[in-house]
């Protein structure tokens, strides 16, 4: 059971993120929602590579014992890097929106017709 806690955390994070994305009307909170989903997915990836009592995969060959699986860590890193770019872009867009509309409320940012 204890080993399932990360997976539960993943589910909670992703659901929280989706909740924020769908029900929150503040643009910043929507950005936070995206961040939460991203953290959830990253946590999921890193959990996949976990091995019990393993060591960091930084040696040319292991000094004994098992190494944690390095590929998920590489994937997570890449995903984090991309996430930084996405969040930076989103926040700068939020700034621009605030400049044009004077509000962060999604309901009022509706200059584009349906």
């Amino acid at each position: 059971m204890i080993f399932n806690i990360p997976y539960i955390a993943v589910a909670v994070l992703i659901l929280l993120g989706l909740y924020a994305l769908i029900f929150k009307r503040n643009l910043i909170k929507m950005v936070i929602g995206i961040t939460l989903i991203e953290s959830g997915v990253n946590l999921f990836l890193i959990t996949l590579g976990y091995r019990k009592e393993s060591i960091a995969p930084i040696y040319t060959s292991s000094p004994g014992g098992v190494m944690a699986f390095p590929v998920p860590q590489a994937l997570t890193l890449t995903s984090i890097v991309i996430g930084v770019a996405v969040i930076a872009l989103m926040l700068s867009l939020v700034m621009h929106i605030y400049r044009h509309y004077g509000t962060l409320d999604v309901r009022k940012v509706r200059r584009l017709k349906e």
Binding site: Y59, L91, S92, R99
Partner: protein, 159 residues
């Protein structure tokens, strides 16, 4: 963003070199320890961001031109792709690690086991880490800088 108090500025000036060096260390040891170009770059960029917060965006922009920063950012990107292309030229494939085992730059093959790490290993990996590190430091710093400046100018517009 406006200037903060003198205490903050002094502390930031003192802390800046340490943070910067730590970031550069993480970049340089990217092929040996956890970390690498992006992580080290982020640390170093946060050091720069600390200066920005302490001294205000106006002051920082007077000292550093944003245009010049983006040149460095491009150089980082070019470096990364160029090394990958050199792999095609000297080695067998795109992204090939053609330096490893060459006993030239970072060319030593590391000893196996959990002994002390040798920085002269890894082939093109450290070089790529440097390129990525440069790009990340400058890139993140530019993002923070431009955002801070835009926020300041917006506040002034409102007034």
């Amino acid at each position: 963003m406006t200037k903060m108090s003198k205490i903050v500025r002094t502390i930031a000036s003192i802390a800046f070199p340490f943070a910067m060096i730590y970031g550069l260390y993480v970049i340089a040891h990217g092929h040996l320890t956890p970390g690498g170009g992006f992580q080290g770059g982020a640390i170093a960029a946060s050091a720069c961001a600390m200066i920005l917060v302490a001294f205000g965006s106006k002051w920082t922009l007077d000292k550093i031109k944003e245009k010049r920063l983006s040149v460095f950012e491009s150089l980082g990107g070019i470096g990364f792709i160029a090394i990958a292309l050199l792999g095609l030229v000297f080695g067998a494939a795109f992204f090939n690690n053609f330096l490893t085992g060459s006993n030239f730059l970072f060319g030593t093959i590391p000893a196996t086991g959990s002994g002390l790490a040798d920085i002269n290993t890894g082939g093109v990996l450290p070089l790529m880490n440097f390129a990525v590190g440069l790009k990340v430091i400058v890139g993140l710093f530019v993002i923070v800088l431009v955002m801070a400046y835009a926020a300041t100018s917006f506040k002034e517009d409102k007034k």
